[in-house]
Structures are given as C-alpha cells and as structure tokens.
Symmetry: C2
DNA sequence: TCATTTAGTTAGTGATCACTTACTTACTAG
DNA sequence: CTAGTAAGTAAGTGATCACTAACTAAATGA
C-alpha cells in the first residue's frame, strides 16, 4: 500500500478538496483526511510541513483547474458573444463539479488565516472578469451590444450572475440544478444585452 | 457592572455580530466574546444554553434587521421600478453596514452545523427575491420593461448583482465602496431593462 | 546482499474549544 | 432587615485540534 511521495501528495490534495465539498472547508481536519485515505494522521506531515501548506497546494490545484477550464472553453470559439457564453458556462459547470470552490472563498483558511491564498483567488476572479470584459468590448466594436455600456460593468453583472447562482444553490442544499438555472439566467441577460440594438436593426 | 439578563443577552448578540464582522464567524469563540464584553466565559452560558442557541439569536436579529430595512425602504414609494431600486439600494446599504451578513451565509455555523439557520436565511433571501419579482411584474404591466421576461428571472439577476458586489467587496479587503459600485451596476442593469422598449418608443 | 533512503507508524505534546459544577455576590420584594 | 433570586465567577471537564519525536519497515541502488 506504500505509494510514492508524488502520488500520495496528489491523493491528499484531492481528498482535501473532496472533503471540503462534502463537509465544508473548515471541517477538513488532518485526522479526517488521513482516515479517508487510510493512513495515520502523522503521515500527512511527511508530505506537507503544515496544514497551511497543504491548503496552499489545494488552492494551486484549484486555480490551475480554473485556468484550464477557461482555456478549454475558449478553444476554437472566436465569436465574442459566444466566447462570453462559453466562459460563463464553463464557470458554472466547474462550480457544479467542484462545489468547494465558492465555499473556499469564504472559508476561514482563505479569508483569515492565509492572505496569500485570498490574493491568489482574488487574482483568478479578476482574470475571469477581464476575459469577459475583453470579449464584451469586442462585441461592442461589432455593434452587437450597446456602445454606451462599460464592458467591465457588464462583466461584473455576468460574474455576479454566476456567484448568485452558486449562493442560491448552496443555500438550497443543492436541490436545484445550478448549471441549468445559471445558463437560463445567462440567456436572459445576453438577450437583454443584444436585443436593444439588434431589434432596432431587425425592425 | 451587573446588567439585567435582557440587556446582557442583547449585548452578547451584538458583540457576536460585531466580532463576526471583524474576525470571521468561525473565529467567534465564547471566550473571545466574553473577554470583549468583560465577563467570564461561563457567564455566556447563563444567558444561552449553548453556542448554537446563541447563533440562533444572532440570526433572528439579522433577519429582523433585514425585514425592517426592506419595509423602511419601500415606505411611500409606489412606482414599481423605484421600489426595485429602493430595495436593492437598501440591501447594499445594509450589507455595507453589517458585513458579517454575507460571511454568515458561508460560515460553518450556518451551512453545516445549523440547518435551522440556513433555512431561515434562505427564506429571507427568498422573500427578497419575491418582493423584487412582484414589483418587476408590476413594471411589466405598465410596459416599462419587456413583457417576455420572467419577473423572477430578472429578480434573480438583481439579487445576484447584490451578492456579487458583496463578494468582490469582501475579497477585495473592503477597499472599494460596495454601495457606490453596487448602485452603479444597478443603474446599468435597470437601464438595460428599460431601454429596449423605451428606445423603441422614442425612436 | 546489504546499506541507505524514505514512507509510514505509535504515542505522545500543548493549545483551544464548548460546556459544567460548585460557589459567591449583587439586587429586590416582602 | 432579610430571605430569595438571579447574575457572575473560579476552576475545572473531556474532546479535538495541528503538530512532533522516536521508531519501523518497505523499496532501491551499488
């Protein structure tokens, strides 16, 4: 049953993330993680010098996953509004698959104990916002959405849409489908953005 | 320095809420609360049989404050869209004044330990959503916003706006003014909602 | 084959948590 | 004035936390 350090580290990180989903980030104790893996609690400290460094590894994996998901979503999509849609859809899908992500944003580990982690997550959210804003600006130059809108404002509205959907999903004990409801709202918002000038042209 | 039970209970609840703002909900220990008040830790258990019941009292005060703020905001406002604006503005102002509220939504106490609290908050958010939806429906019958929009969908967009603003504010270490940026976004969204048919009529 | 490396264990540490018990002191009604 | 009540204290409890020291056994390379 003995694994290489590399494999074991990955297993520990994955387990922490899974347990953060299931029981909440602040409930993930070293003892609980070790028990789930099937090693003693002390074994974790062979691989990570402290729990904070373990969380840092988790955060790094999450931010990597986010970056990868965005890149994949944008592959071979050139139309600006389709790119916006793909980005939001990817974010919704990722949160649905890894519900710990929004919980991590407000966990004790991130918000209080570890300024570095908070900074890393904030930077990722900022990157998401900037990607949205860039494509929205492109859509604007194509005359697809009104010219007097600030792309960054619209990008904020769209990221808020994702965050709101995640909050309602979390509070509702995950009964509804976050992806479906989120995508439905995205369509409403995108129609609102497009229709004004589009309908003028059509009419 | 001895206070009546009523006064002391109120003082404890207020202190918990203040400390939840300052150090995070999960960091609020009975010892820390007692120390800030200036009594022994055991004294808290004279007034609340358990920490869970203490949190329940805090939640009740918060939901009461929410309800009051909404009622006050709607007083003497009859125009549907102005009511929507007043509601969202009131919510932004309240969160800015009591930043623990969004943190509570994701705290361990609420999301894991205490199903009752989670239910209470979910119900309040639902009430907010329904109030928005009702006024949006009224605006729809007045022809102020497009008829083919589901009022509940638009209400979700608006509550998400508030939640997104709160998240960015919390993660950004509260450097920006949440009320200002939130209200600016609200204006953008409201213009998006109105302009479509308004501009058609004008044009 | 055997020495070295390394993943893992056993059995603790002190700190901190919510909560309890037994006692004490301040207020108040009769 | 005094007896009862209610607020508060001192000093614990056991549980749980992250983390450590000393030891063991499995893999590996010469």
């Amino acid at each position: 049953m003995r694994k290489s350090a590399e494999l074991r580290k990955a297993e520990i990180v994955a387990t922490v993330l899974e347990m953060a989903d299931r029981i909440g980030p602040d409930r993930v104790t070293t003892a609980a993680v070790a028990q789930q893996i099937g090693v003693t609690q002390a074994a974790l400290f062979r691989h990570f010098p402290s729990k904070a460094e373990l969380w840092a590894a988790v955060a790094e994996q999450v931010t990597d996953t986010l970056a990868t998901a965005w890149r994949t979503a944008l592959e071979d999509v050139s139309d600006p509004l389709e790119r916006v849609r793909a980005l939001v859809a990817a974010q919704l899908a990722l949160i649905a698959r890894t519900p710990a992500i929004p919980m991590l944003l407000f966990s004790r580990e991130l918000t209080i104990e570890n300024d570095l982690l908070r900074g890393a997550f904030q930077e990722r959210l900022g990157a998401f916002h900037e990607m949205l804003a860039a494509d929205l600006a492109a859509a604007q130059t194509q005359g697809r959405i009104p010219a007097d809108l600030a792309p960054r404002d619209v990008a904020y509205l769209l990221s808020s849409l994702v965050q709101g959907a995640a909050i309602r999903w979390a509070l509702g004990a995950r009964k509804t489908s976050m992806e479906e409801t989120g995508l439905a709202l995205l369509d409403v918002q995108l129609r609102l953005l497009q229709r004004q000038e589009g309908s003028r042209r059509d009419a």
